[in-house]
């Protein structure tokens, strides 16, 4: 090994280490700070204690907000996955003029619908419908924003399910519902699982919509409550935030691991018979 290659390799290693540290430090903080008697914004070996957990659990809104988040995300995820799958199946199989244009326009508009531009009309609409402070209604609005992208991705998956599968089932006497349940859904399952997790993560991390549509503190989800966790002096409440952040991360990681193990992820279509 020459000096030059050695130098190149050490520089490379240092660069990778720096990059890894950049991403690893917050993770290590998340793992250690909840158990530290005096958590700060820096990283250090914790002075072990469970006091932070006791304080967080006795916080008036912390646990309630996590439950709110779960309700909100369950509504958004189920609606997005169920309607997205059915719509994608229909759009994949029925030939209508301008189908692709429709899909692209929907995709384009979806970023507007739940984006900042439409916030005022959405707020007014929900206010007049009396749906402010309802997690279900907020979940539906989020689902509305996620659906175009979900349909777009799922259509790609369902396009790769050969028609002969469905025709074969039809010849054996299967009803359209049986074709969907026995053939299309199982074959498109990795795609559906991907959309399920994606929709959950999107809804879980959504701040703007719940912030606007859920005005009562006890109706707010975790993503919104996190912003209000301050002590009397107005600075960040570092007793509650680390534990709360860790709890906030758990459902997403758990869902990912569960779905990945059970269904397998794929981010592209294509099946091997």
């Amino acid at each position: 090994m020459t000096f030059k290659t050695m130098l190149r390799r050490s520089l490379y290693t240092v660069l990778i280490a720096a990059l890894l540290a950049f991403f690893a430090v917050p993770m290590l903080w998340l793992a250690s700070a909840p158990f530290d008697s005096d958590p700060g914004v820096g990283l250090r070996w914790p002075d072990w204690t469970l006091d932070n957990w006791r304080v967080t659990f006795s916080h008036p809104y912390a646990l309630g907000s996590l439950v709110n988040s779960i309700v909100l995300c369950a509504v958004a995820t189920i609606v997005t996955t169920a309607l997205g799958t059915l719509a994608a199946y229909a759009l994949s199989r029925v030939r209508i003029p301008g189908r692709d244009a429709l899909l692209y326009v929907l995709l384009l508009l979806s970023s507007v619908v739940t984006g900042t531009a439409a916030m005022v009309p959405i707020f007014v609409l929900m206010l007049q419908l009396g749906l402010i402070n309802s997690q279900y209604a907020t979940g539906l609005v989020i689902a509305g924003g996620l659906l175009p992208a979900a349909i777009f991705i799922l259509k790609d998956f369902i396009d790769t399910v050969p028609r002969s599968y469905e025709e074969s089932a039809r010849v054996f006497g299967a009803s359209p519902w049986q074709v969907l349940r026995d053939v299309v859904l199982p074959v498109a399952r990795p795609g559906i699982a991907t959309i399920l997790v994606w929709a959950f993560v999107q809804a879980w991390g959504n701040f703007l919509l719940p912030f606007l549509l859920l005005r009562e503190v006890d109706a707010q989800p975790a993503a919104v409550l996190l912003r209000t966790l301050r002590d009397e002096g107005g600075s960040a409440n570092l007793t509650v935030i680390p534990v709360f952040s860790l709890l906030y991360a758990v459902p997403v990681v758990a869902l990912y691991l569960f779905v990945s193990k059970r269904y397998g992820f794929r981010f592209h279509g294509g099946i091997k018979a």
Partner: protein
């Protein structure tokens, strides 16, 4: 018994894939729909299955009019070209699927899977998934699934085309035995004339949505009804030579051959059709220079260059190959020269 009367299937884009077709297929018959791609044979099969809506005409199955009956309620089973085995189900689940659709009991599904798979030599594979099977095994699973439906009619779309050449011959023999043992009315689609000749009791040669010729493999091979069928059937292309009739002889490729139909008027333009297999070396007949010799195994295909830049092919036994450049004379075997009308291309 399948009876089609005036059946047409027109696609939304106006293509008449099946055009006013009449056909009846007998009980227990192994029937081939043969033709080049785009001739409407697959559409016809799909129309019988109910996967395509016919535009006019009627389909009768076993005496019942099923023209407007939806797929799956016609008593017709079908095996698709790609077999369409469900990748997420085991072999047993695939075979039992037709019973599952009808909500048969779990026990009945199990029994059907076990007994049908035993008939097709699949007993050891019941717990496998389609991806773990060879092409030939996949085909047998697809057949087993169609048989498990206990339908009156079995439709096969290009049953051998997804297999490699070696396996194809094996599967062909298997298919023929299976059909004979089951006695099931079977219609299959193929673009491979050898497959149709080998398997079928009767063949319908199709072109442009119509039947050009209907007959047994022997009839279709020995007496093609027109030049299209003549050109399509046979592993070596038939010699189709334009010529004229004079004094009861056909003048073709610089030779005079005795005409098989003496009633023809003098000077009428004709196309003489002779299969290379039916041309033999002779002292008198078509004379030409040997330009190409192709080895086909037991025989060799010799191409003769005849006067007027006409090419004539004939097969010779492997040990009688002529030298390239030598002169050779060949004559059709008795009764093997066919004449087609020069204008209508129909057999005279």
């Amino acid at each position: 018994m399948i009876e089609l009367a005036g059946l047409s299937t027109v696609y939304p884009n106006g293509v008449r894939a099946v055009d006013a077709l009449d056909l009846s297929i007998n009980d227990g018959e192994f029937f081939a729909l043969l033709g080049p791609s785009g001739c409407g044979k697959t559409t016809l099969l799909r129309t019988i299955a109910g996967l395509e809506q016919s535009s006019s005409g009627t389909i009768m199955l076993g005496g019942n009019d099923v023209t407007r009956v939806e797929a799956g309620k016609r008593g017709v089973a079908m095996v698709f070209q790609d077999y369409a085995l469900f990748p997420h189900m085991t072999v047993a689940q695939n075979i039992a699927y037709p019973l599952r659709v009808r909500r048969a009991s779990r026990q009945a599904q199990q029994d059907a899977a076990v007994s049908t798979s035993a008939d097709l030599g699949l007993s050891a594979l019941l717990e496998r998934r389609p991806a773990q099977l060879s092409g030939g095994q996949q085909q047998r699973v697809a057949l087993a699934r169609a048989i498990a439906m206990s339908a009156d009619v079995l439709l096969l779309d290009e049953p051998l085309s997804n297999l490699d050449a070696r396996l194809r011959l094996e599967a062909r023999t298997f298919l023929k035995r299976l059909q004979r043992d089951l006695g099931l009315t079977t219609v299959f689609v193929t673009h491979d004339q050898a497959e149709a000749l080998a398997l079928a009791d009767r063949i319908a040669v199709m072109a442009e949505g119509r039947i050009r010729q209907l007959g047994t493999p022997k009839e279709v091979f020995q007496r093609p009804a027109d030049t299209f069928v003549a050109n399509f059937i046979g592993s070596t292309p038939m010699n189709l030579l334009t010529g004229t009739v004079r004094d009861g002889f056909v003048e073709v490729a610089g030779a005079r051959l005795p005409a098989p139909a003496p009633s023809l008027t003098d000077g009428a333009p004709v196309v003489a059709g002779i299969r290379p297999e039916y041309l033999r070396p002779a002292t008198e007949g078509i004379t030409g220079t040997v330009s190409i010799v192709e080895n086909l195994g037991v025989t060799s295909l010799v191409t003769l260059e005849c006067p007027g830049e006409v090419l004539v092919g004939l097969t010779v036994p492997e040990h009688e190959e002529p030298a390239v450049g030598s002169t050779m004379t060949a004559a059709p075997a008795p009764g093997r020269l066919l004449l087609y009308d020069g204008e209508t291309n129909q057999l005279v």
